[in-house]
């Protein structure tokens, strides 16, 4: 009986299954132009061209072409370079906010048979007001190790939908300040003679482009208040010395918001038995030759508001050093012998203490991804 039952149960559990599904994709569906960027009136507009990549991982040929902006009076705005490219900057600082604009594209090599593309005519969305850009933190780093950044936006004539980008710059220094260094050219240990080592202070740059789509929709009225848009771990280098953020916010139409929201959802919610099926999302860029061709991307025209702020270690309690820096060691504790190719620096302790050698990551800020390029406006004297 037990054997029969086992067989029956085994049969039942084996009746249903999951198998790989790799359907043949129609050639026409695997070619599609992707256009990213917005028309920013009063600023520089950046656009990139790319195309759909095959699911099989096959590399696609790079997309190259020309991009320009037209206004409804016929005036055109072109990038500085006239060479075909896939990244474009177009200066729109002198453009009038009272006109309508559209993006025009011409491909050097058609992807699908179309050469010219145009976006819809867009009215310029008025710049929102950045009511607030601030940050909060918890004294107890163990309870909450993050610095939270908040923003509040409002707009009198918008749709209640907002998009923003930001740039980040932060100064940091290496964990230790070396007094001596190993000169590989002379193979001698030399002193900095009290000077700040040249690779002690660094600056790093980043922006929101890799952080995903920064969009929000007001649930009532035309404002969002107290919206937490970024969390930074206080143990990161960004919070170590001085952090700067410049936020650019703009109004977007509800249609644009729906588009951006949908492509975000589509990429995470891929459908299942009890989930809704995702569907194709059409942007507002169309082929001049074939209006039914699918082009990925949405072009909006907006004016931009800007606000920036600093976050200094003077106001936020210092955190324990983070990262995975190797600990300082004495010469006798060094596991591997000195290599002339590695310019180890060491910090000389008082005479009766042994010399301390540290990995370069502990004393060279560039080893931590920083640069020596200091922004012109930077308020600290660090070099």
């Amino acid at each position: 009986m037990k054997k029969i039952l086992t067989l029956v149960i085994a049969a039942m559990s084996a009746v249903g299954c999951v198998y790989e599904f790799t359907p043949d994709i129609r050639p026409g569906d695997t070619k599609g132009l992707v256009v990213e960027g917005d028309i920013l009136i009063g600023d520089v507009s950046t656009f990139t061209l790319s195309c759909i990549e095959s699911l099989s991982g096959e590399e696609s040929a790079p997309v190259r072409g020309w991009v320009w902006i037209e206004d409804d009076s016929g005036k055109e705005y072109h990038p500085d370079s006239s060479d075909p490219s896939n990244t474009f900057d177009i200066d729109m600082r002198s453009a009038s906010p009272d006109r309508q604009y559209r993006l025009r594209i011409r491909l050097a090599s058609p992807l699908t048979g179309s050469t010219f593309y145009s976006s819809e005519w867009r009215e310029v969305q008025k710049a929102p007001v950045i009511d607030d850009l601030s940050y909060t933190w918890d004294d107890d780093i163990y309870a909450d190790p993050y610095t939270h950044l908040w923003l509040s936006l409002s707009s009198t004539e918008g749709s209640g939908c907002f998009r923003w980008d930001y740039e980040e710059i932060w100064e940091f220094h290496a964990e230790f300040m070396a007094e001596y260094y190993y000169d590989t050219a002379t193979q001698r240990v030399r002193s900095y003679e009290g000077r700040i080592p040249p690779l002690y202070y660094c600056w790093s740059y980043d922006n929101s482009h890799q952080a995903g789509l920064a969009i929000a929709k007001s649930t009532g009225g035309e404002r969002i208040s107290g919206y937490k848009f970024l969390d930074i771990d206080r143990r990161e280098l960004r919070m170590q010395t001085l952090y700067f953020i410049k936020l650019q916010a703009r109004n977007i139409s509800e249609e644009c918001y729906e588009y951006l929201h949908s492509i975000e959802v589509n990429s995470t919610s891929t459908g299942s038995l009890t989930q809704p099926d995702p569907s194709q999302i059409i942007g507002n860029i169309f082929s001049d030759d074939d209006p039914l061709e699918v082009v990925y991307g949405y072009i909006e025209a907006s004016r931009v508001s800007e606000k920036s702020m600093y976050i200094s270690d003077l106001f936020i309690p210092p955190a324990e050093p983070g990262g995975n820096l190797p600990p300082p060691v004495t010469l006798s504790g060094m596991l591997t012998p000195l290599s002339p190719a590695e310019a180890y620096m060491y910090d000389l302790r008082p005479k009766d203490s042994p010399d301390i050698w540290v990995n370069k990551k502990c004393v060279e800020c560039t080893a931590l991804g920083g640069t020596k390029i200091k922004p012109a406006f930077w308020p600290t004297p660090s070099e």
Binding site: M12, I25, D29, E36, E53, L55, N266, S267, T274, S279
Partner: protein, 1028 residues
Amino acid sequence: MSRKTCVAIAIFLLSFLPGSAQGVVGDDGQPILFRGRVSRRYNSATFNGTPYLDHTGSKTGSVIFDGVLYPDVLIDYDASLQEISVRQDEDHVSIIPDSRQIPWFTMGDRKFVNLSYLGVDSAEEGFYEVLMDGDIALLERVDKKMLSFPGDHNTVRELGYIDPDYRSELITYYKIDRRQWSLKDGVLSKVKGKKAFQRLQKQIILPASGPGPVERAAARWHEVNRSAIHMETPSVSFQKNRSDRENLPEGYFMKDMAEELARLDSLEESVRAMYQNKIYQIGDPAYPQRGKVKVSGTVRDAATGQPLPDVTVWDDNTSTYALTDARGQYSITIPVGENVINFNELTKQDMHLKVVVNGPGGLDLTMTERVTMLNSAMISADTRMNHRTAKIGLERVSIKTINKIPSAFGEGDILRAVLTLPGVKTVGEASGGFNVRGGSADQNLILFNEGTIYNPSHMFGVFSAFNPDVVEGVELLKSSIPAEYGGRVSSVLDVKGKDGSFEKINGSLGIGLMTSRLHLEGPLKKGKTSFLLGGRMTYSDWMLKRIKSSNYKDGTADFADLNFGLTHKANDNNTIQLYGYWSKDNFSFSPDTTFHYNSLNAALRWKHKGAGRTSFSFSTGIDLYGNTLDETPYSSEYEAFNLETAINQAFARLKFETAGDHHVVSYGTEVLGYALEGGHIKPMIPGSAVIERSLETEYALQPSVYLGDEWTAGEKFLLDYGVRVSSFYAKAPAKFYAGPEFRLSGKYSVNNNLSFKAGFNSMRQYIHLISNTTAISPMDTWKLCDEEILPVDGWQAASGMYWTVFDGKVDLSLEGYWKNTWNELDYKSGATLVMNDHLADDLVRTKGKAYGVEFMAKKTIGKLSGWASYSYSRTFLREMEDRGINTINRGEWYSAAYDKPHDFKLVANYAITARYSLSTNLDYSTGRPVTIPVGYYQYGGGYRLAYSARNSYRIPDYFRLDLALNIDPGHYLKALTHASLTLGCYNVTGRKNTYSVFYSTDQGRNLKGYRVCVFATQIPYINLNILF
């Protein structure tokens, strides 16, 4: 001479009326007693025992027939059929006289009386042996039953004697059943036990001399009453070696008696079907009318007394057809004069009644069970059914057919049977809903004993919600929907529950791999009140927990349902019925998510038959459907929640029907009341992060009135038309919708075998199933119309040609349709459909168009029976509003999720022998449409998926073949139990039919596609059903 010619001759001869029934001899000089059907010749090589009471052979006795005593007659008493056969001597062939004219006969010293003939209540038809005839009569009733069971049955208890010629290799035998009765003051009572019998024997006071009271009553009764019986018997007597050429045609008597008897055997079936050679007089012969008149009546089942629906009634002369309705009533217009009216029903003996029509009148009859099934059809839909009605797209499936169609896990499945019909599709295996002629799943009105069923399946579609043991049959209306039905745009699936038996308690037990079921029915008061109880449960839950190394180990999958019915015949004109249905389901394949859903339906119906041919019915009841989702995320128990939705509906219906000579007018009204709870979410533990909230309950009323007429416009024309005015009132915010719905269909019959139909329907629907998932899931919510969500409007035009060929054995049909709908709901991308206060914001209105052609060939007679169908159909949707770039598919037509162009189905049953039959079911269809990712692209700081246009790709085609071997019990109607066994295999080819596809992705990259197969292998099954 061909069989047809013999039949014709027999009919001719049997219609010859020589005069009255008076006198011992007829005009041909032969005793009237010896006029009747030729006695059956049993082929004793196929069974043991004997059907005769006396196994030693014919006995000399006497018979009172038609008030006259015929002495010295050779008699055989067939205790299996409860009739006697008589002959003058050994040189004559035995004839079966009409038992109803025989109140009394003797065989040797034994005496037999026909108690039902004498009017004794509760007496069975046939004869009782009079053991003692005194102040109390002691009687014995012997019935012989043909059984087929292996084993040694050569005993007195089983056969009634020790058969010296017993053959052990035969499993068929005649079993004897003796029961003793006492008769006192006209009341028949069973004598229970030997001691009671012996006690009674001692008590009886016999008359001092002469016949006892029973014998005297038998002789006297018929003397008084025989003149009231309009009986004619044919002037034919068959005598060996006698050539009576005055009455019989040349060559009718063969020289070789064996050949003659063999030929007569072949006549037996048709002669037997002549219904006792009776001729009916309808109307007053003193005032004969002219032209055509209406003959109507009720057809009942002889065994249960139940009215028989779907009995074909047709007139030989004019080929006029009629069909009995659910109440067993029919009405047919035939010419005055001599006619033959035929009654045909799948499982009953054919009846061919000779009638002399003088004027309009009634003709009621009972039909007996057809004993052998070898030549009968497996498939319920009678031959020529399509020619009898003007309705297009009407399909009927009886429970017998449903139980023969192989299904997963072997249990008869109503929905699976419906899916074998042309024009009916599903989005996938084990899908909860079905689609009819391009309509979505919520556009089908599913009725069960007056109640509306919102979820017709258990366990996510693996089993149907209907217990086959309590179902009489299923009717699907795909196109021509009568005006009495409304509220859904596509179809009506009317599942008819059966009433409990009024005669005796019986039931069935079914044991299968996953479920078991039990049903019981019978009289609470014989002939007056009956009950019906049916229940099912599954033990899949218990089995899942025993799968040690499987993801299903912690899962739950179980259901149970219960059916209840009570029928009370207050009198001949009034019947009260009470129905109830309850079900519950629990389903979970992971511990964090569990679905529960349950249904409760209750209905009360009063049917009244008024004067003439008017009737009405009033019904009222409630339909409740609720579902619950328990979600307990692994990440945090503080996010666990419970989500409930429910739909509560109450209804009242009043229907009238008046039948005239050419019109059957129906009219009535219906009111539905809704209380729809869109959602209530609450935390599962205190301190949870989930905030309890509810969506407002929606209240609405949906009253309708209708008027319809079925007009027999002529011999060849039938028109069915009507109008329904439906309305809808939503309470808050108040919104009112109303509009007419037109129904029209017509039939033109070229001849008996060829007819054409055309029809048009418009329908409205005020309730929507909100689902943006592929499969219908229990958590899909229903939504009433309001100020933002409009009713669905639709119309359908259809036409068809119907042709019966090969001597009525094969029905061919070709139907085409075109359907348009407006305001069907589809969802926006990324829509949130659960607990959404502003649901309308995430929905879009679409227009739908569907068209198709369906061809079907159906064979209902013969060893091989079944049907094959092919359909080509398309269904498209298009958003009605221009939402700019957000418009689905840029406003172009796109395939609906159930658009499956090619569909081929084959359902067949081959009766190998009377007990063994093979069933097969073959299903092929185009894979359904899906939307799939076609590539990656970088945008907004991450990888995104590019998708195809909506529903522009398809999953692989669907193909499935099922086989089953059915082993039926012996062909006996009165056995205590019948056990049948079904061995089968679902999905014989083991094809991995895709149910759904899904993808997994890592931050928009590393995309992998998967397809889910519900039944990815062969599923053998075994099912045991016991009827008792």
